[in-house]
């Protein structure tokens, strides 16, 4: 069984990595919190080699390389080089190309594009991973036939097993679905990384917020069990919005992940 990993999605700390100095300080803090790695995009102000070295110096890894989907095939060798620099074999893409998210035909086209990109990377031993949000769970309802088709259904059923997914538990909930059931329905053996973030209301608030792992209204034990059952081994803490200090929130998320994963 793959070793369980806990990573930080650096989008959470986007305001704390605006230049080289702040990035390195942020990496110090992430390492200090005990995380194994980061999920990051490559900043323009540091070379990939330097970034990889700074991560390694702190005992951190980068769990994937990010790329726009439409650039994967054309930049395959470049992505392979980056994967080699960081010692990773996962290319992460997110977002649907323009014009593909408004129709069933669009989702089919998107599935084809994912498959083509995945097949191209597979030739070099690299895995393609699509990080979805909630928009992919749009339901196409046909009032004439009564048929309801979920966009994510189209994508999952029209791609093969070498197209991996990175679900985000908050976005599954935000789409109106049961998190554990959706993980099992769509992503069994199709997801090895997962975004973990909480959601709920703070006392006195009328609007909800994203929260650290372990807080809010989600059934954390059920969600974690479902994630492990489908094959996830990299639990990526993310928090789209932090009302307080994000490092404090990430520290809480780390402690929660330790408890939930038992390691």
């Amino acid at each position: 069984m793959k070793k369980l990993m806990k990573s930080v999605q650096m989008y959470t700390l986007r305001d704390y990595m605006t230049d080289r100095e702040s990035l390195l300080e942020t990496l110090n803090k992430v390492a200090g919190l005990g995380y194994d790695g980061v999920q990051t995009q490559l900043p323009a102000f540091i070379s990939p080699e330097e970034y990889a070295a700074e991560l390694a110096a702190r005992g951190l890894y980068a769990d994937s390389i990010s790329s726009p989907l439409l650039e994967v095939i054309g930049n395959r060798d470049g992505l392979a080089r980056l994967c080699s620099i960081f010692g990773i074999d996962v290319v992460r893409v997110n977002g649907m190309p323009e014009g593909t998210s408004n129709s069933k035909e669009g989702f089919m086209s998107f599935a084809e594009q994912l498959q083509q990109a995945a097949d191209s990377l597979s030739q070099l031993g690299i895995r393609l991973m699509y990080h979805n949000h909630h928009g992919e769970f749009t339901m196409f309802c046909d009032p004439k036939t009564g048929e309801n088709v979920c966009g994510m259904d189209i994508v999952v059923k029209n791609t093969r097993s070498n197209v991996l997914f990175q679900p985000d538990i908050h976005h599954i909930h935000y789409a109106g679905f049961d998190i554990a059931e959706t993980l099992k329905k769509y992503f069994d053996r199709r997801a090895v990384y997962i975004h973990m973030q909480g959601y709920g209301f703070r006392p006195g608030d009328s609007e909800p917020y994203t929260m650290p792992v372990g807080l809010g209204t989600y059934d954390w034990k059920e969600v974690t069990r479902a994630a492990l059952d489908i094959g996830v081994y990299n639990f990526v803490a993310e928090q789209d919005w932090c009302l307080g200090d994000p490092f404090t929130d990430l520290a809480f998320s780390k402690r929660s992940l330790d408890l939930l994963l038992g390691c």
Partner: protein, 259 residues
């Protein structure tokens, strides 16, 4: 009738709206008496269409001094008598009570007190919650406090499957906590309408029953198990004609075997 609030701003509008609802097969409405009429006037308009109001409305924030509760319960009883029902709905927990667990406990006391008065008057007192009551206070939640610190004989709840979802729960599961405490539920769907915008920021929206992502088979199973007797169609916001939306919900519920 919050769904059609923009179509009942005058008595003339209300008459037209009731006519449209009658054509859609609606027999019961959940309504707060508009300022331009009274219980008798509203009842007359409803009866002309073979419709009825399912409850009276008695907000707790109208109870400002000694005797107010008793007076308002009497008023609610009178209205229920006119409408031919025995249910009194109340408002959501005011913001001043939502800041901490103690606030929720104090409000639970108020609900239980009012509920006891209603019960003595032969009425059922119902609290309709939304999503913010699912705020967590350590190991408990606001809704848990309201449930556990009110007497089941004094205070009922009216769940809303959309708000249960918005709260972060799966409604087919969270409905079970209202076993013995609810007999009606609000039904509307929760949808992601990918019409425009990037997939990570498109907002959720309210939709007619059956046009969204909710697990209706699971919801209806849970509702049946906990003894729900009535499904109240509501849609706080409609992206098309409101009566078209209501009609779509009616059709969906029929197809699901409800009514």
């Amino acid at each position: 009738m919050y769904t059609v609030r923009d179509s009942m701003k005058t008595e003339e509008q209300l008459i037209g709206t009731l006519g449209k609802l009658e054509k859609l097969g609606i027999e019961n409405v959940q309504i707060s008496i508009p300022a331009y009429t009274d219980a008798d006037g509203l009842e007359k308009l409803l009866r002309q269409r073979g419709m009825s109001a399912d409850s009276a409305y008695m907000p707790t924030d109208s109870m400002k001094g000694p005797g107010d509760s008793e007076r308002l319960v009497e008023k609610a009883k009178r209205e229920c008598g006119i409408f031919g029902c025995d249910v009194v709905r109340t408002n959501s927990i005011p913001a001043e009570y939502r800041k901490n667990a103690d606030g929720y406990r104090r409000y639970a006391e108020i609900l239980d007190r009012e509920g006891k008065l209603c019960r003595a008057a032969g009425l059922k007192y119902v609290y309709h919650f939304h999503a913010f009551e699912f705020v967590t206070f350590g190991e408990t939640r606001g809704i848990d406090i309201l449930l556990s610190e009110t007497d089941a004989a004094n205070v009922y709840f009216q769940p809303d499957v959309f708000w249960l979802t918005n709260a972060g729960t799966e409604p087919s599961v969270s409905l079970m906590m209202f076993r013995g405490r609810a007999f009606w539920i609000h039904v509307k769907d929760y949808a992601i309408k990918q019409l425009e915008g990037v997939v990570e920021s498109v907002p959720y929206c309210l939709a007619p029953v059956g046009e969204g992502n909710l697990n209706w088979p699971g919801i209806l199973r849970a509702a049946s198990e906990i003894g729900i007797e009535r499904y109240v169609i509501e849609q706080d916001q409609c992206d098309r004609d409101v009566f078209d939306c209501i009609g779509a919900s009616v059709d969906s519920l029929h197809k699901m075997g409800i009514y």
